[in-house]
């Protein structure tokens, strides 16, 4: 095969993998939006917060160490011992559930029946709060996260693809990150589990009922507030998964919360209410971004990855405002 084609395939595949990572974040948005009509801007920060908490547990950091040291003049930093990854993940999950409960109790409960835009802004405020809170709790330095997932390039795949190139061409095989592969597998498992959960369990059905119609769901005895806690917990779990993947990839740091912004075009493409849409949208954005960077970028000076996704989303909005799989909103402006 021609190396140019192989290059294209490599970029395409890496785009797919990057897209999966975007989808993981977008998934959390879709879950909350479906169940409560809230566009949760804090999803990215929740991922950051989950990853920070996980690292904190694994390395045995003392929460609020900086604050305690500043107030009492002490010098505490760690408990001295960390905990295994699995236990830490479970504990982080408990923290995320507690967070979901607190958010419902102290924020959402008071904002029922407000306009969507007010709720959106409340989640922006929540995002800031969580960001400051997470940094205050665990410190703002860049942390490495390693829960034992494989990482680095796959030599096997490099060898295989090297064979594909025409003999004598200077082609050294494709690079593919093992972490991205595990992210893909985890995303598939996650989506399958979520789909099964919402199809076959009582809670899952209640969730779908609430997503369909709040009033009707309440009248058949579904507690809206309980459902909201559950939904926020689930999206907290999705945030944790996204946080683990992104954190293992690029370190746990503030920029992690900015992936929320990247999830927006994904949602617009896939539709706000569709789980498969979030996945497909993520893939399209991931592939489009990488291809554009590789083939269009050099023409205009590069680094177009930053805004390309938004422009794609913008162009898409003008044609199909409800997204690929979203519910059609019948409304004229």
């Amino acid at each position: 095969m021609n190396p140019a084609i192989l290059n294209f395939i490599e970029i395409f595949m890496n785009g797919l993998m990057a897209g999966i990572m975007y989808s993981l974040v977008a998934l959390g948005f879709v879950l909350i939006f479906k169940a409560s009509g809230i566009f949760n801007f804090a999803q990215g920060v929740m991922a950051l917060f989950a990853a920070l908490t996980l690292v904190g547990f694994m390395t045995g950091q003392v929460p609020f160490a900086h604050l305690i040291n500043a107030i009492f003049g002490t010098e505490v930093h760690t408990w001295g011992a960390g905990m295994p990854a699995l236990l830490a993940i479970l504990l982080t999950m408990v923290v995320m559930i507690a967070l979901a409960w607190l958010i419902e109790r102290y924020v959402l409960k008071h904002l029922v029946n407000q306009e969507p835009i007010i709720l959106f802004m409340a989640t922006i405020g929540l995002a800031y709060f969580l960001e400051g809170f997470g940094d205050l709790m665990w410190g703002s330095d860049v942390k490495t996260l390693d829960v034992g997932l494989p990482s680095g390039g796959s030599f096997w795949w490099e060898d295989v693809t090297r064979e594909w190139a025409a003999a004598g061409s200077q082609y050294y095989g494709m690079y593919i990150d093992l972490l991205d592969v595990s992210a893909t597998i985890i995303a598939i498992v996650l989506v399958t589990a979520l789909t099964l959960f919402s199809q076959y369990t009582a809670t899952g059905r209640a969730l779908r009922a609430v997503a369909d119609d709040h009033q009707a769901a309440m009248s058949v005895g579904i507690s809206l507030r309980r459902i909201w806690v559950i939904v926020w917990s689930i999206s907290g779990f999705v945030a944790l998964v996204a946080g683990i993947m992104w954190g293992s990839k690029s370190g746990v740091q503030f920029s992690l919360s900015l992936i929320a912004l990247k999830a927006l075009p994904v949602l617009i493409l896939g539709g706000f209410t569709s789980i498969p849409g979030a996945i497909i949208g993520g893939l399209i954005i991931g592939v489009g971004e990488k291809l554009a960077e590789a083939y269009v970028g050099p023409l205009v000076g590069g680094a177009i990855e930053n805004w390309f996704a938004y422009v794609v989303a913008l162009a898409f909005l003008l044609v199909r405002p409800q997204g690929l799989f979203g519910d059609k909103i019948i409304e004229r402006i």
């Binding site: 566009f39 900086h66 604050l67 500043a70 107030i71 924020v107 008071h110 904002l111 407000q114 969507p116 835009i117 007010i118 959106f120 802004m121 409340a122 922006i124 405020g125 929540l126 995002a127 800031y128 709060f129 969580l130 960001e131 400051g132 809170f133 940094d135 205050l136 703002s140 900015l258 912004l261 927006l264 075009p265 617009i268 706000f272 205009v300 000076g301 590069g302 680094a303 177009i304 930053n306 805004w307 938004y310 422009v311 989303a313 913008l314 909005l317 003008l318 405002p321 004229r332 402006i333």
Partner: protein, 358 residues
């Protein structure tokens, strides 16, 4: 006692419709203005100018602009940082291309340039609204910042990629550049804010402002009674960007002096100004000023308290501050979705009856 309508008779429509219909309120306003114009310039020093007053004036201007778009016309925008960058770079290009131009003209022309860009990025609002529009304006934010970074023409091919404001004077007093005088820059900003605040107030209660509010409250109904959504939305984008562009120009030329686009006009600026508008009160001119004042003064206050008084490290203080800001936004949305302006309105209602409520 202080705040009485009794005996304050109106004999013309004009006096009935004025911005401050009550005599004591009018007096209070003019006293405040007199203090701002005549007393503060004599007391000002470099610290106060740089840390408090200039940011306050600039963010008041930006919040005013964003409030016109978000509060009056109901179009959510996250592109404020990008539009401020347009204002800053337009000001820079004007200052370097036409060295004879005075700074007032530069700032206002920069506003007009930004208005043009705003109309361009406002076009999607004709088809989409709500979150979708917010994402569309995010495209503006990221695209504009990228553009100013990538094309060297915008920063006159300077090696560092930064733009640096040359010295410009008003009546012979330097208002930009390293040797600018604190009182002169302050008065420059205050004059612009006063004039354009005046204009904004009167725009919003005139025909144009009413068409914006009609679109905000219900676009379909507005269209039926004959408000053109095209004109209303694009004019809101234009006027809003005009103000934001002027704020960006002042931010760069009078406040920073030298700027790098990604750092000075990033997405965080967009959010900051949006928060000012929310906390101050959507759809209120006074709210824009109160919100800007709140979010400019709060960090200064917190920093003084935590870093200077308690001796905490700076980044710890920054975390507490960001947390407080986020918490306050949620708090305000829950307790008073109409922001500080509404609190002021309620206070006035109470004051009318004080000290003898029914």
């Amino acid at each position: 006692m202080l705040y009485r309508e009794a005996g304050d008779f109106k004999t013309t429509y004009a006096s009935d419709q004025q911005t401050f219909p009550i005599k004591s309120e009018r007096a209070l306003f003019w006293l405040f203005m007199a203090a701002a114009f005549l007393i503060v310039p004599f007391l000002i020093n470099d610290y106060w100018n740089k840390a408090v007053l200039m940011p306050l004036l600039i963010y008041c201007m930006a919040a005013l602009g964003l409030n016109i778009l978000v509060g009056y016309c109901g179009q959510v925008s996250l592109g404020t940082g990008g539009f401020m960058a347009v204002g800053a770079y337009a000001a820079y290009k004007l200052m370097t291309a036409f060295p004879w131009m005075d700074q007032f003209s530069v700032t206002i022309l920069a506003g007009f340039v930004t208005a043009g860009v705003g109309i361009l990025f406002g076009l999607p609002s004709l088809r989409i609204k709500g979150f979708y529009l917010a994402v569309a304006t995010l495209a503006a934010q990221f695209f504009l910042v990228w553009m100013f970074n990538k094309f060297a023409w915008f920063y006159n091919y300077s090696a560092s990629g930064q733009i640096t404001a040359p010295e410009r004077t008003i009546f012979g007093y330097a208002v930009t550049g390293p040797s600018s005088l604190p009182w002169a820059t302050y008065l420059f900003g205050l004059t612009l804010l006063f004039v354009f605040g005046w204009i904004a107030r009167n725009l919003t209660r005139g025909r144009l402002g009413r068409s914006w509010m009609a679109i905000r409250d219900m676009d379909i109904a507005a269209e039926i009674i004959g408000v053109s959504p095209l004109k209303a939305k694009l004019s809101a984008f234009a006027v809003s960007s005009f103000y934001i562009g002027m704020a960006g120009a002042m931010f760069f030329a009078n406040y920073l002096g030298a700027a790098e686009v990604g750092e000075a006009f990033g997405i965080d600026k967009s959010f900051l100004v949006l928060f000012m508008v929310i906390i101050g009160g959507l759809g209120s001119i006074l709210g824009s000023f109160l919100g800007a004042a709140f979010l400019v003064l709060l960090p200064v206050l917190l920093k003084n308290l935590m870093v200077d008084q308690l001796g905490w490290v700076t980044d710890l203080a920054a975390h507490v501050q960001i947390m407080l800001v986020g918490g306050l936004i949620v708090f305000f949305l829950i307790v008073e979705p109409h922001g500080l302006a509404q609190l002021w309105r309620l206070t006035k209602e109470k004051l009318r009856l004080w000290p003898f409520p029914y």
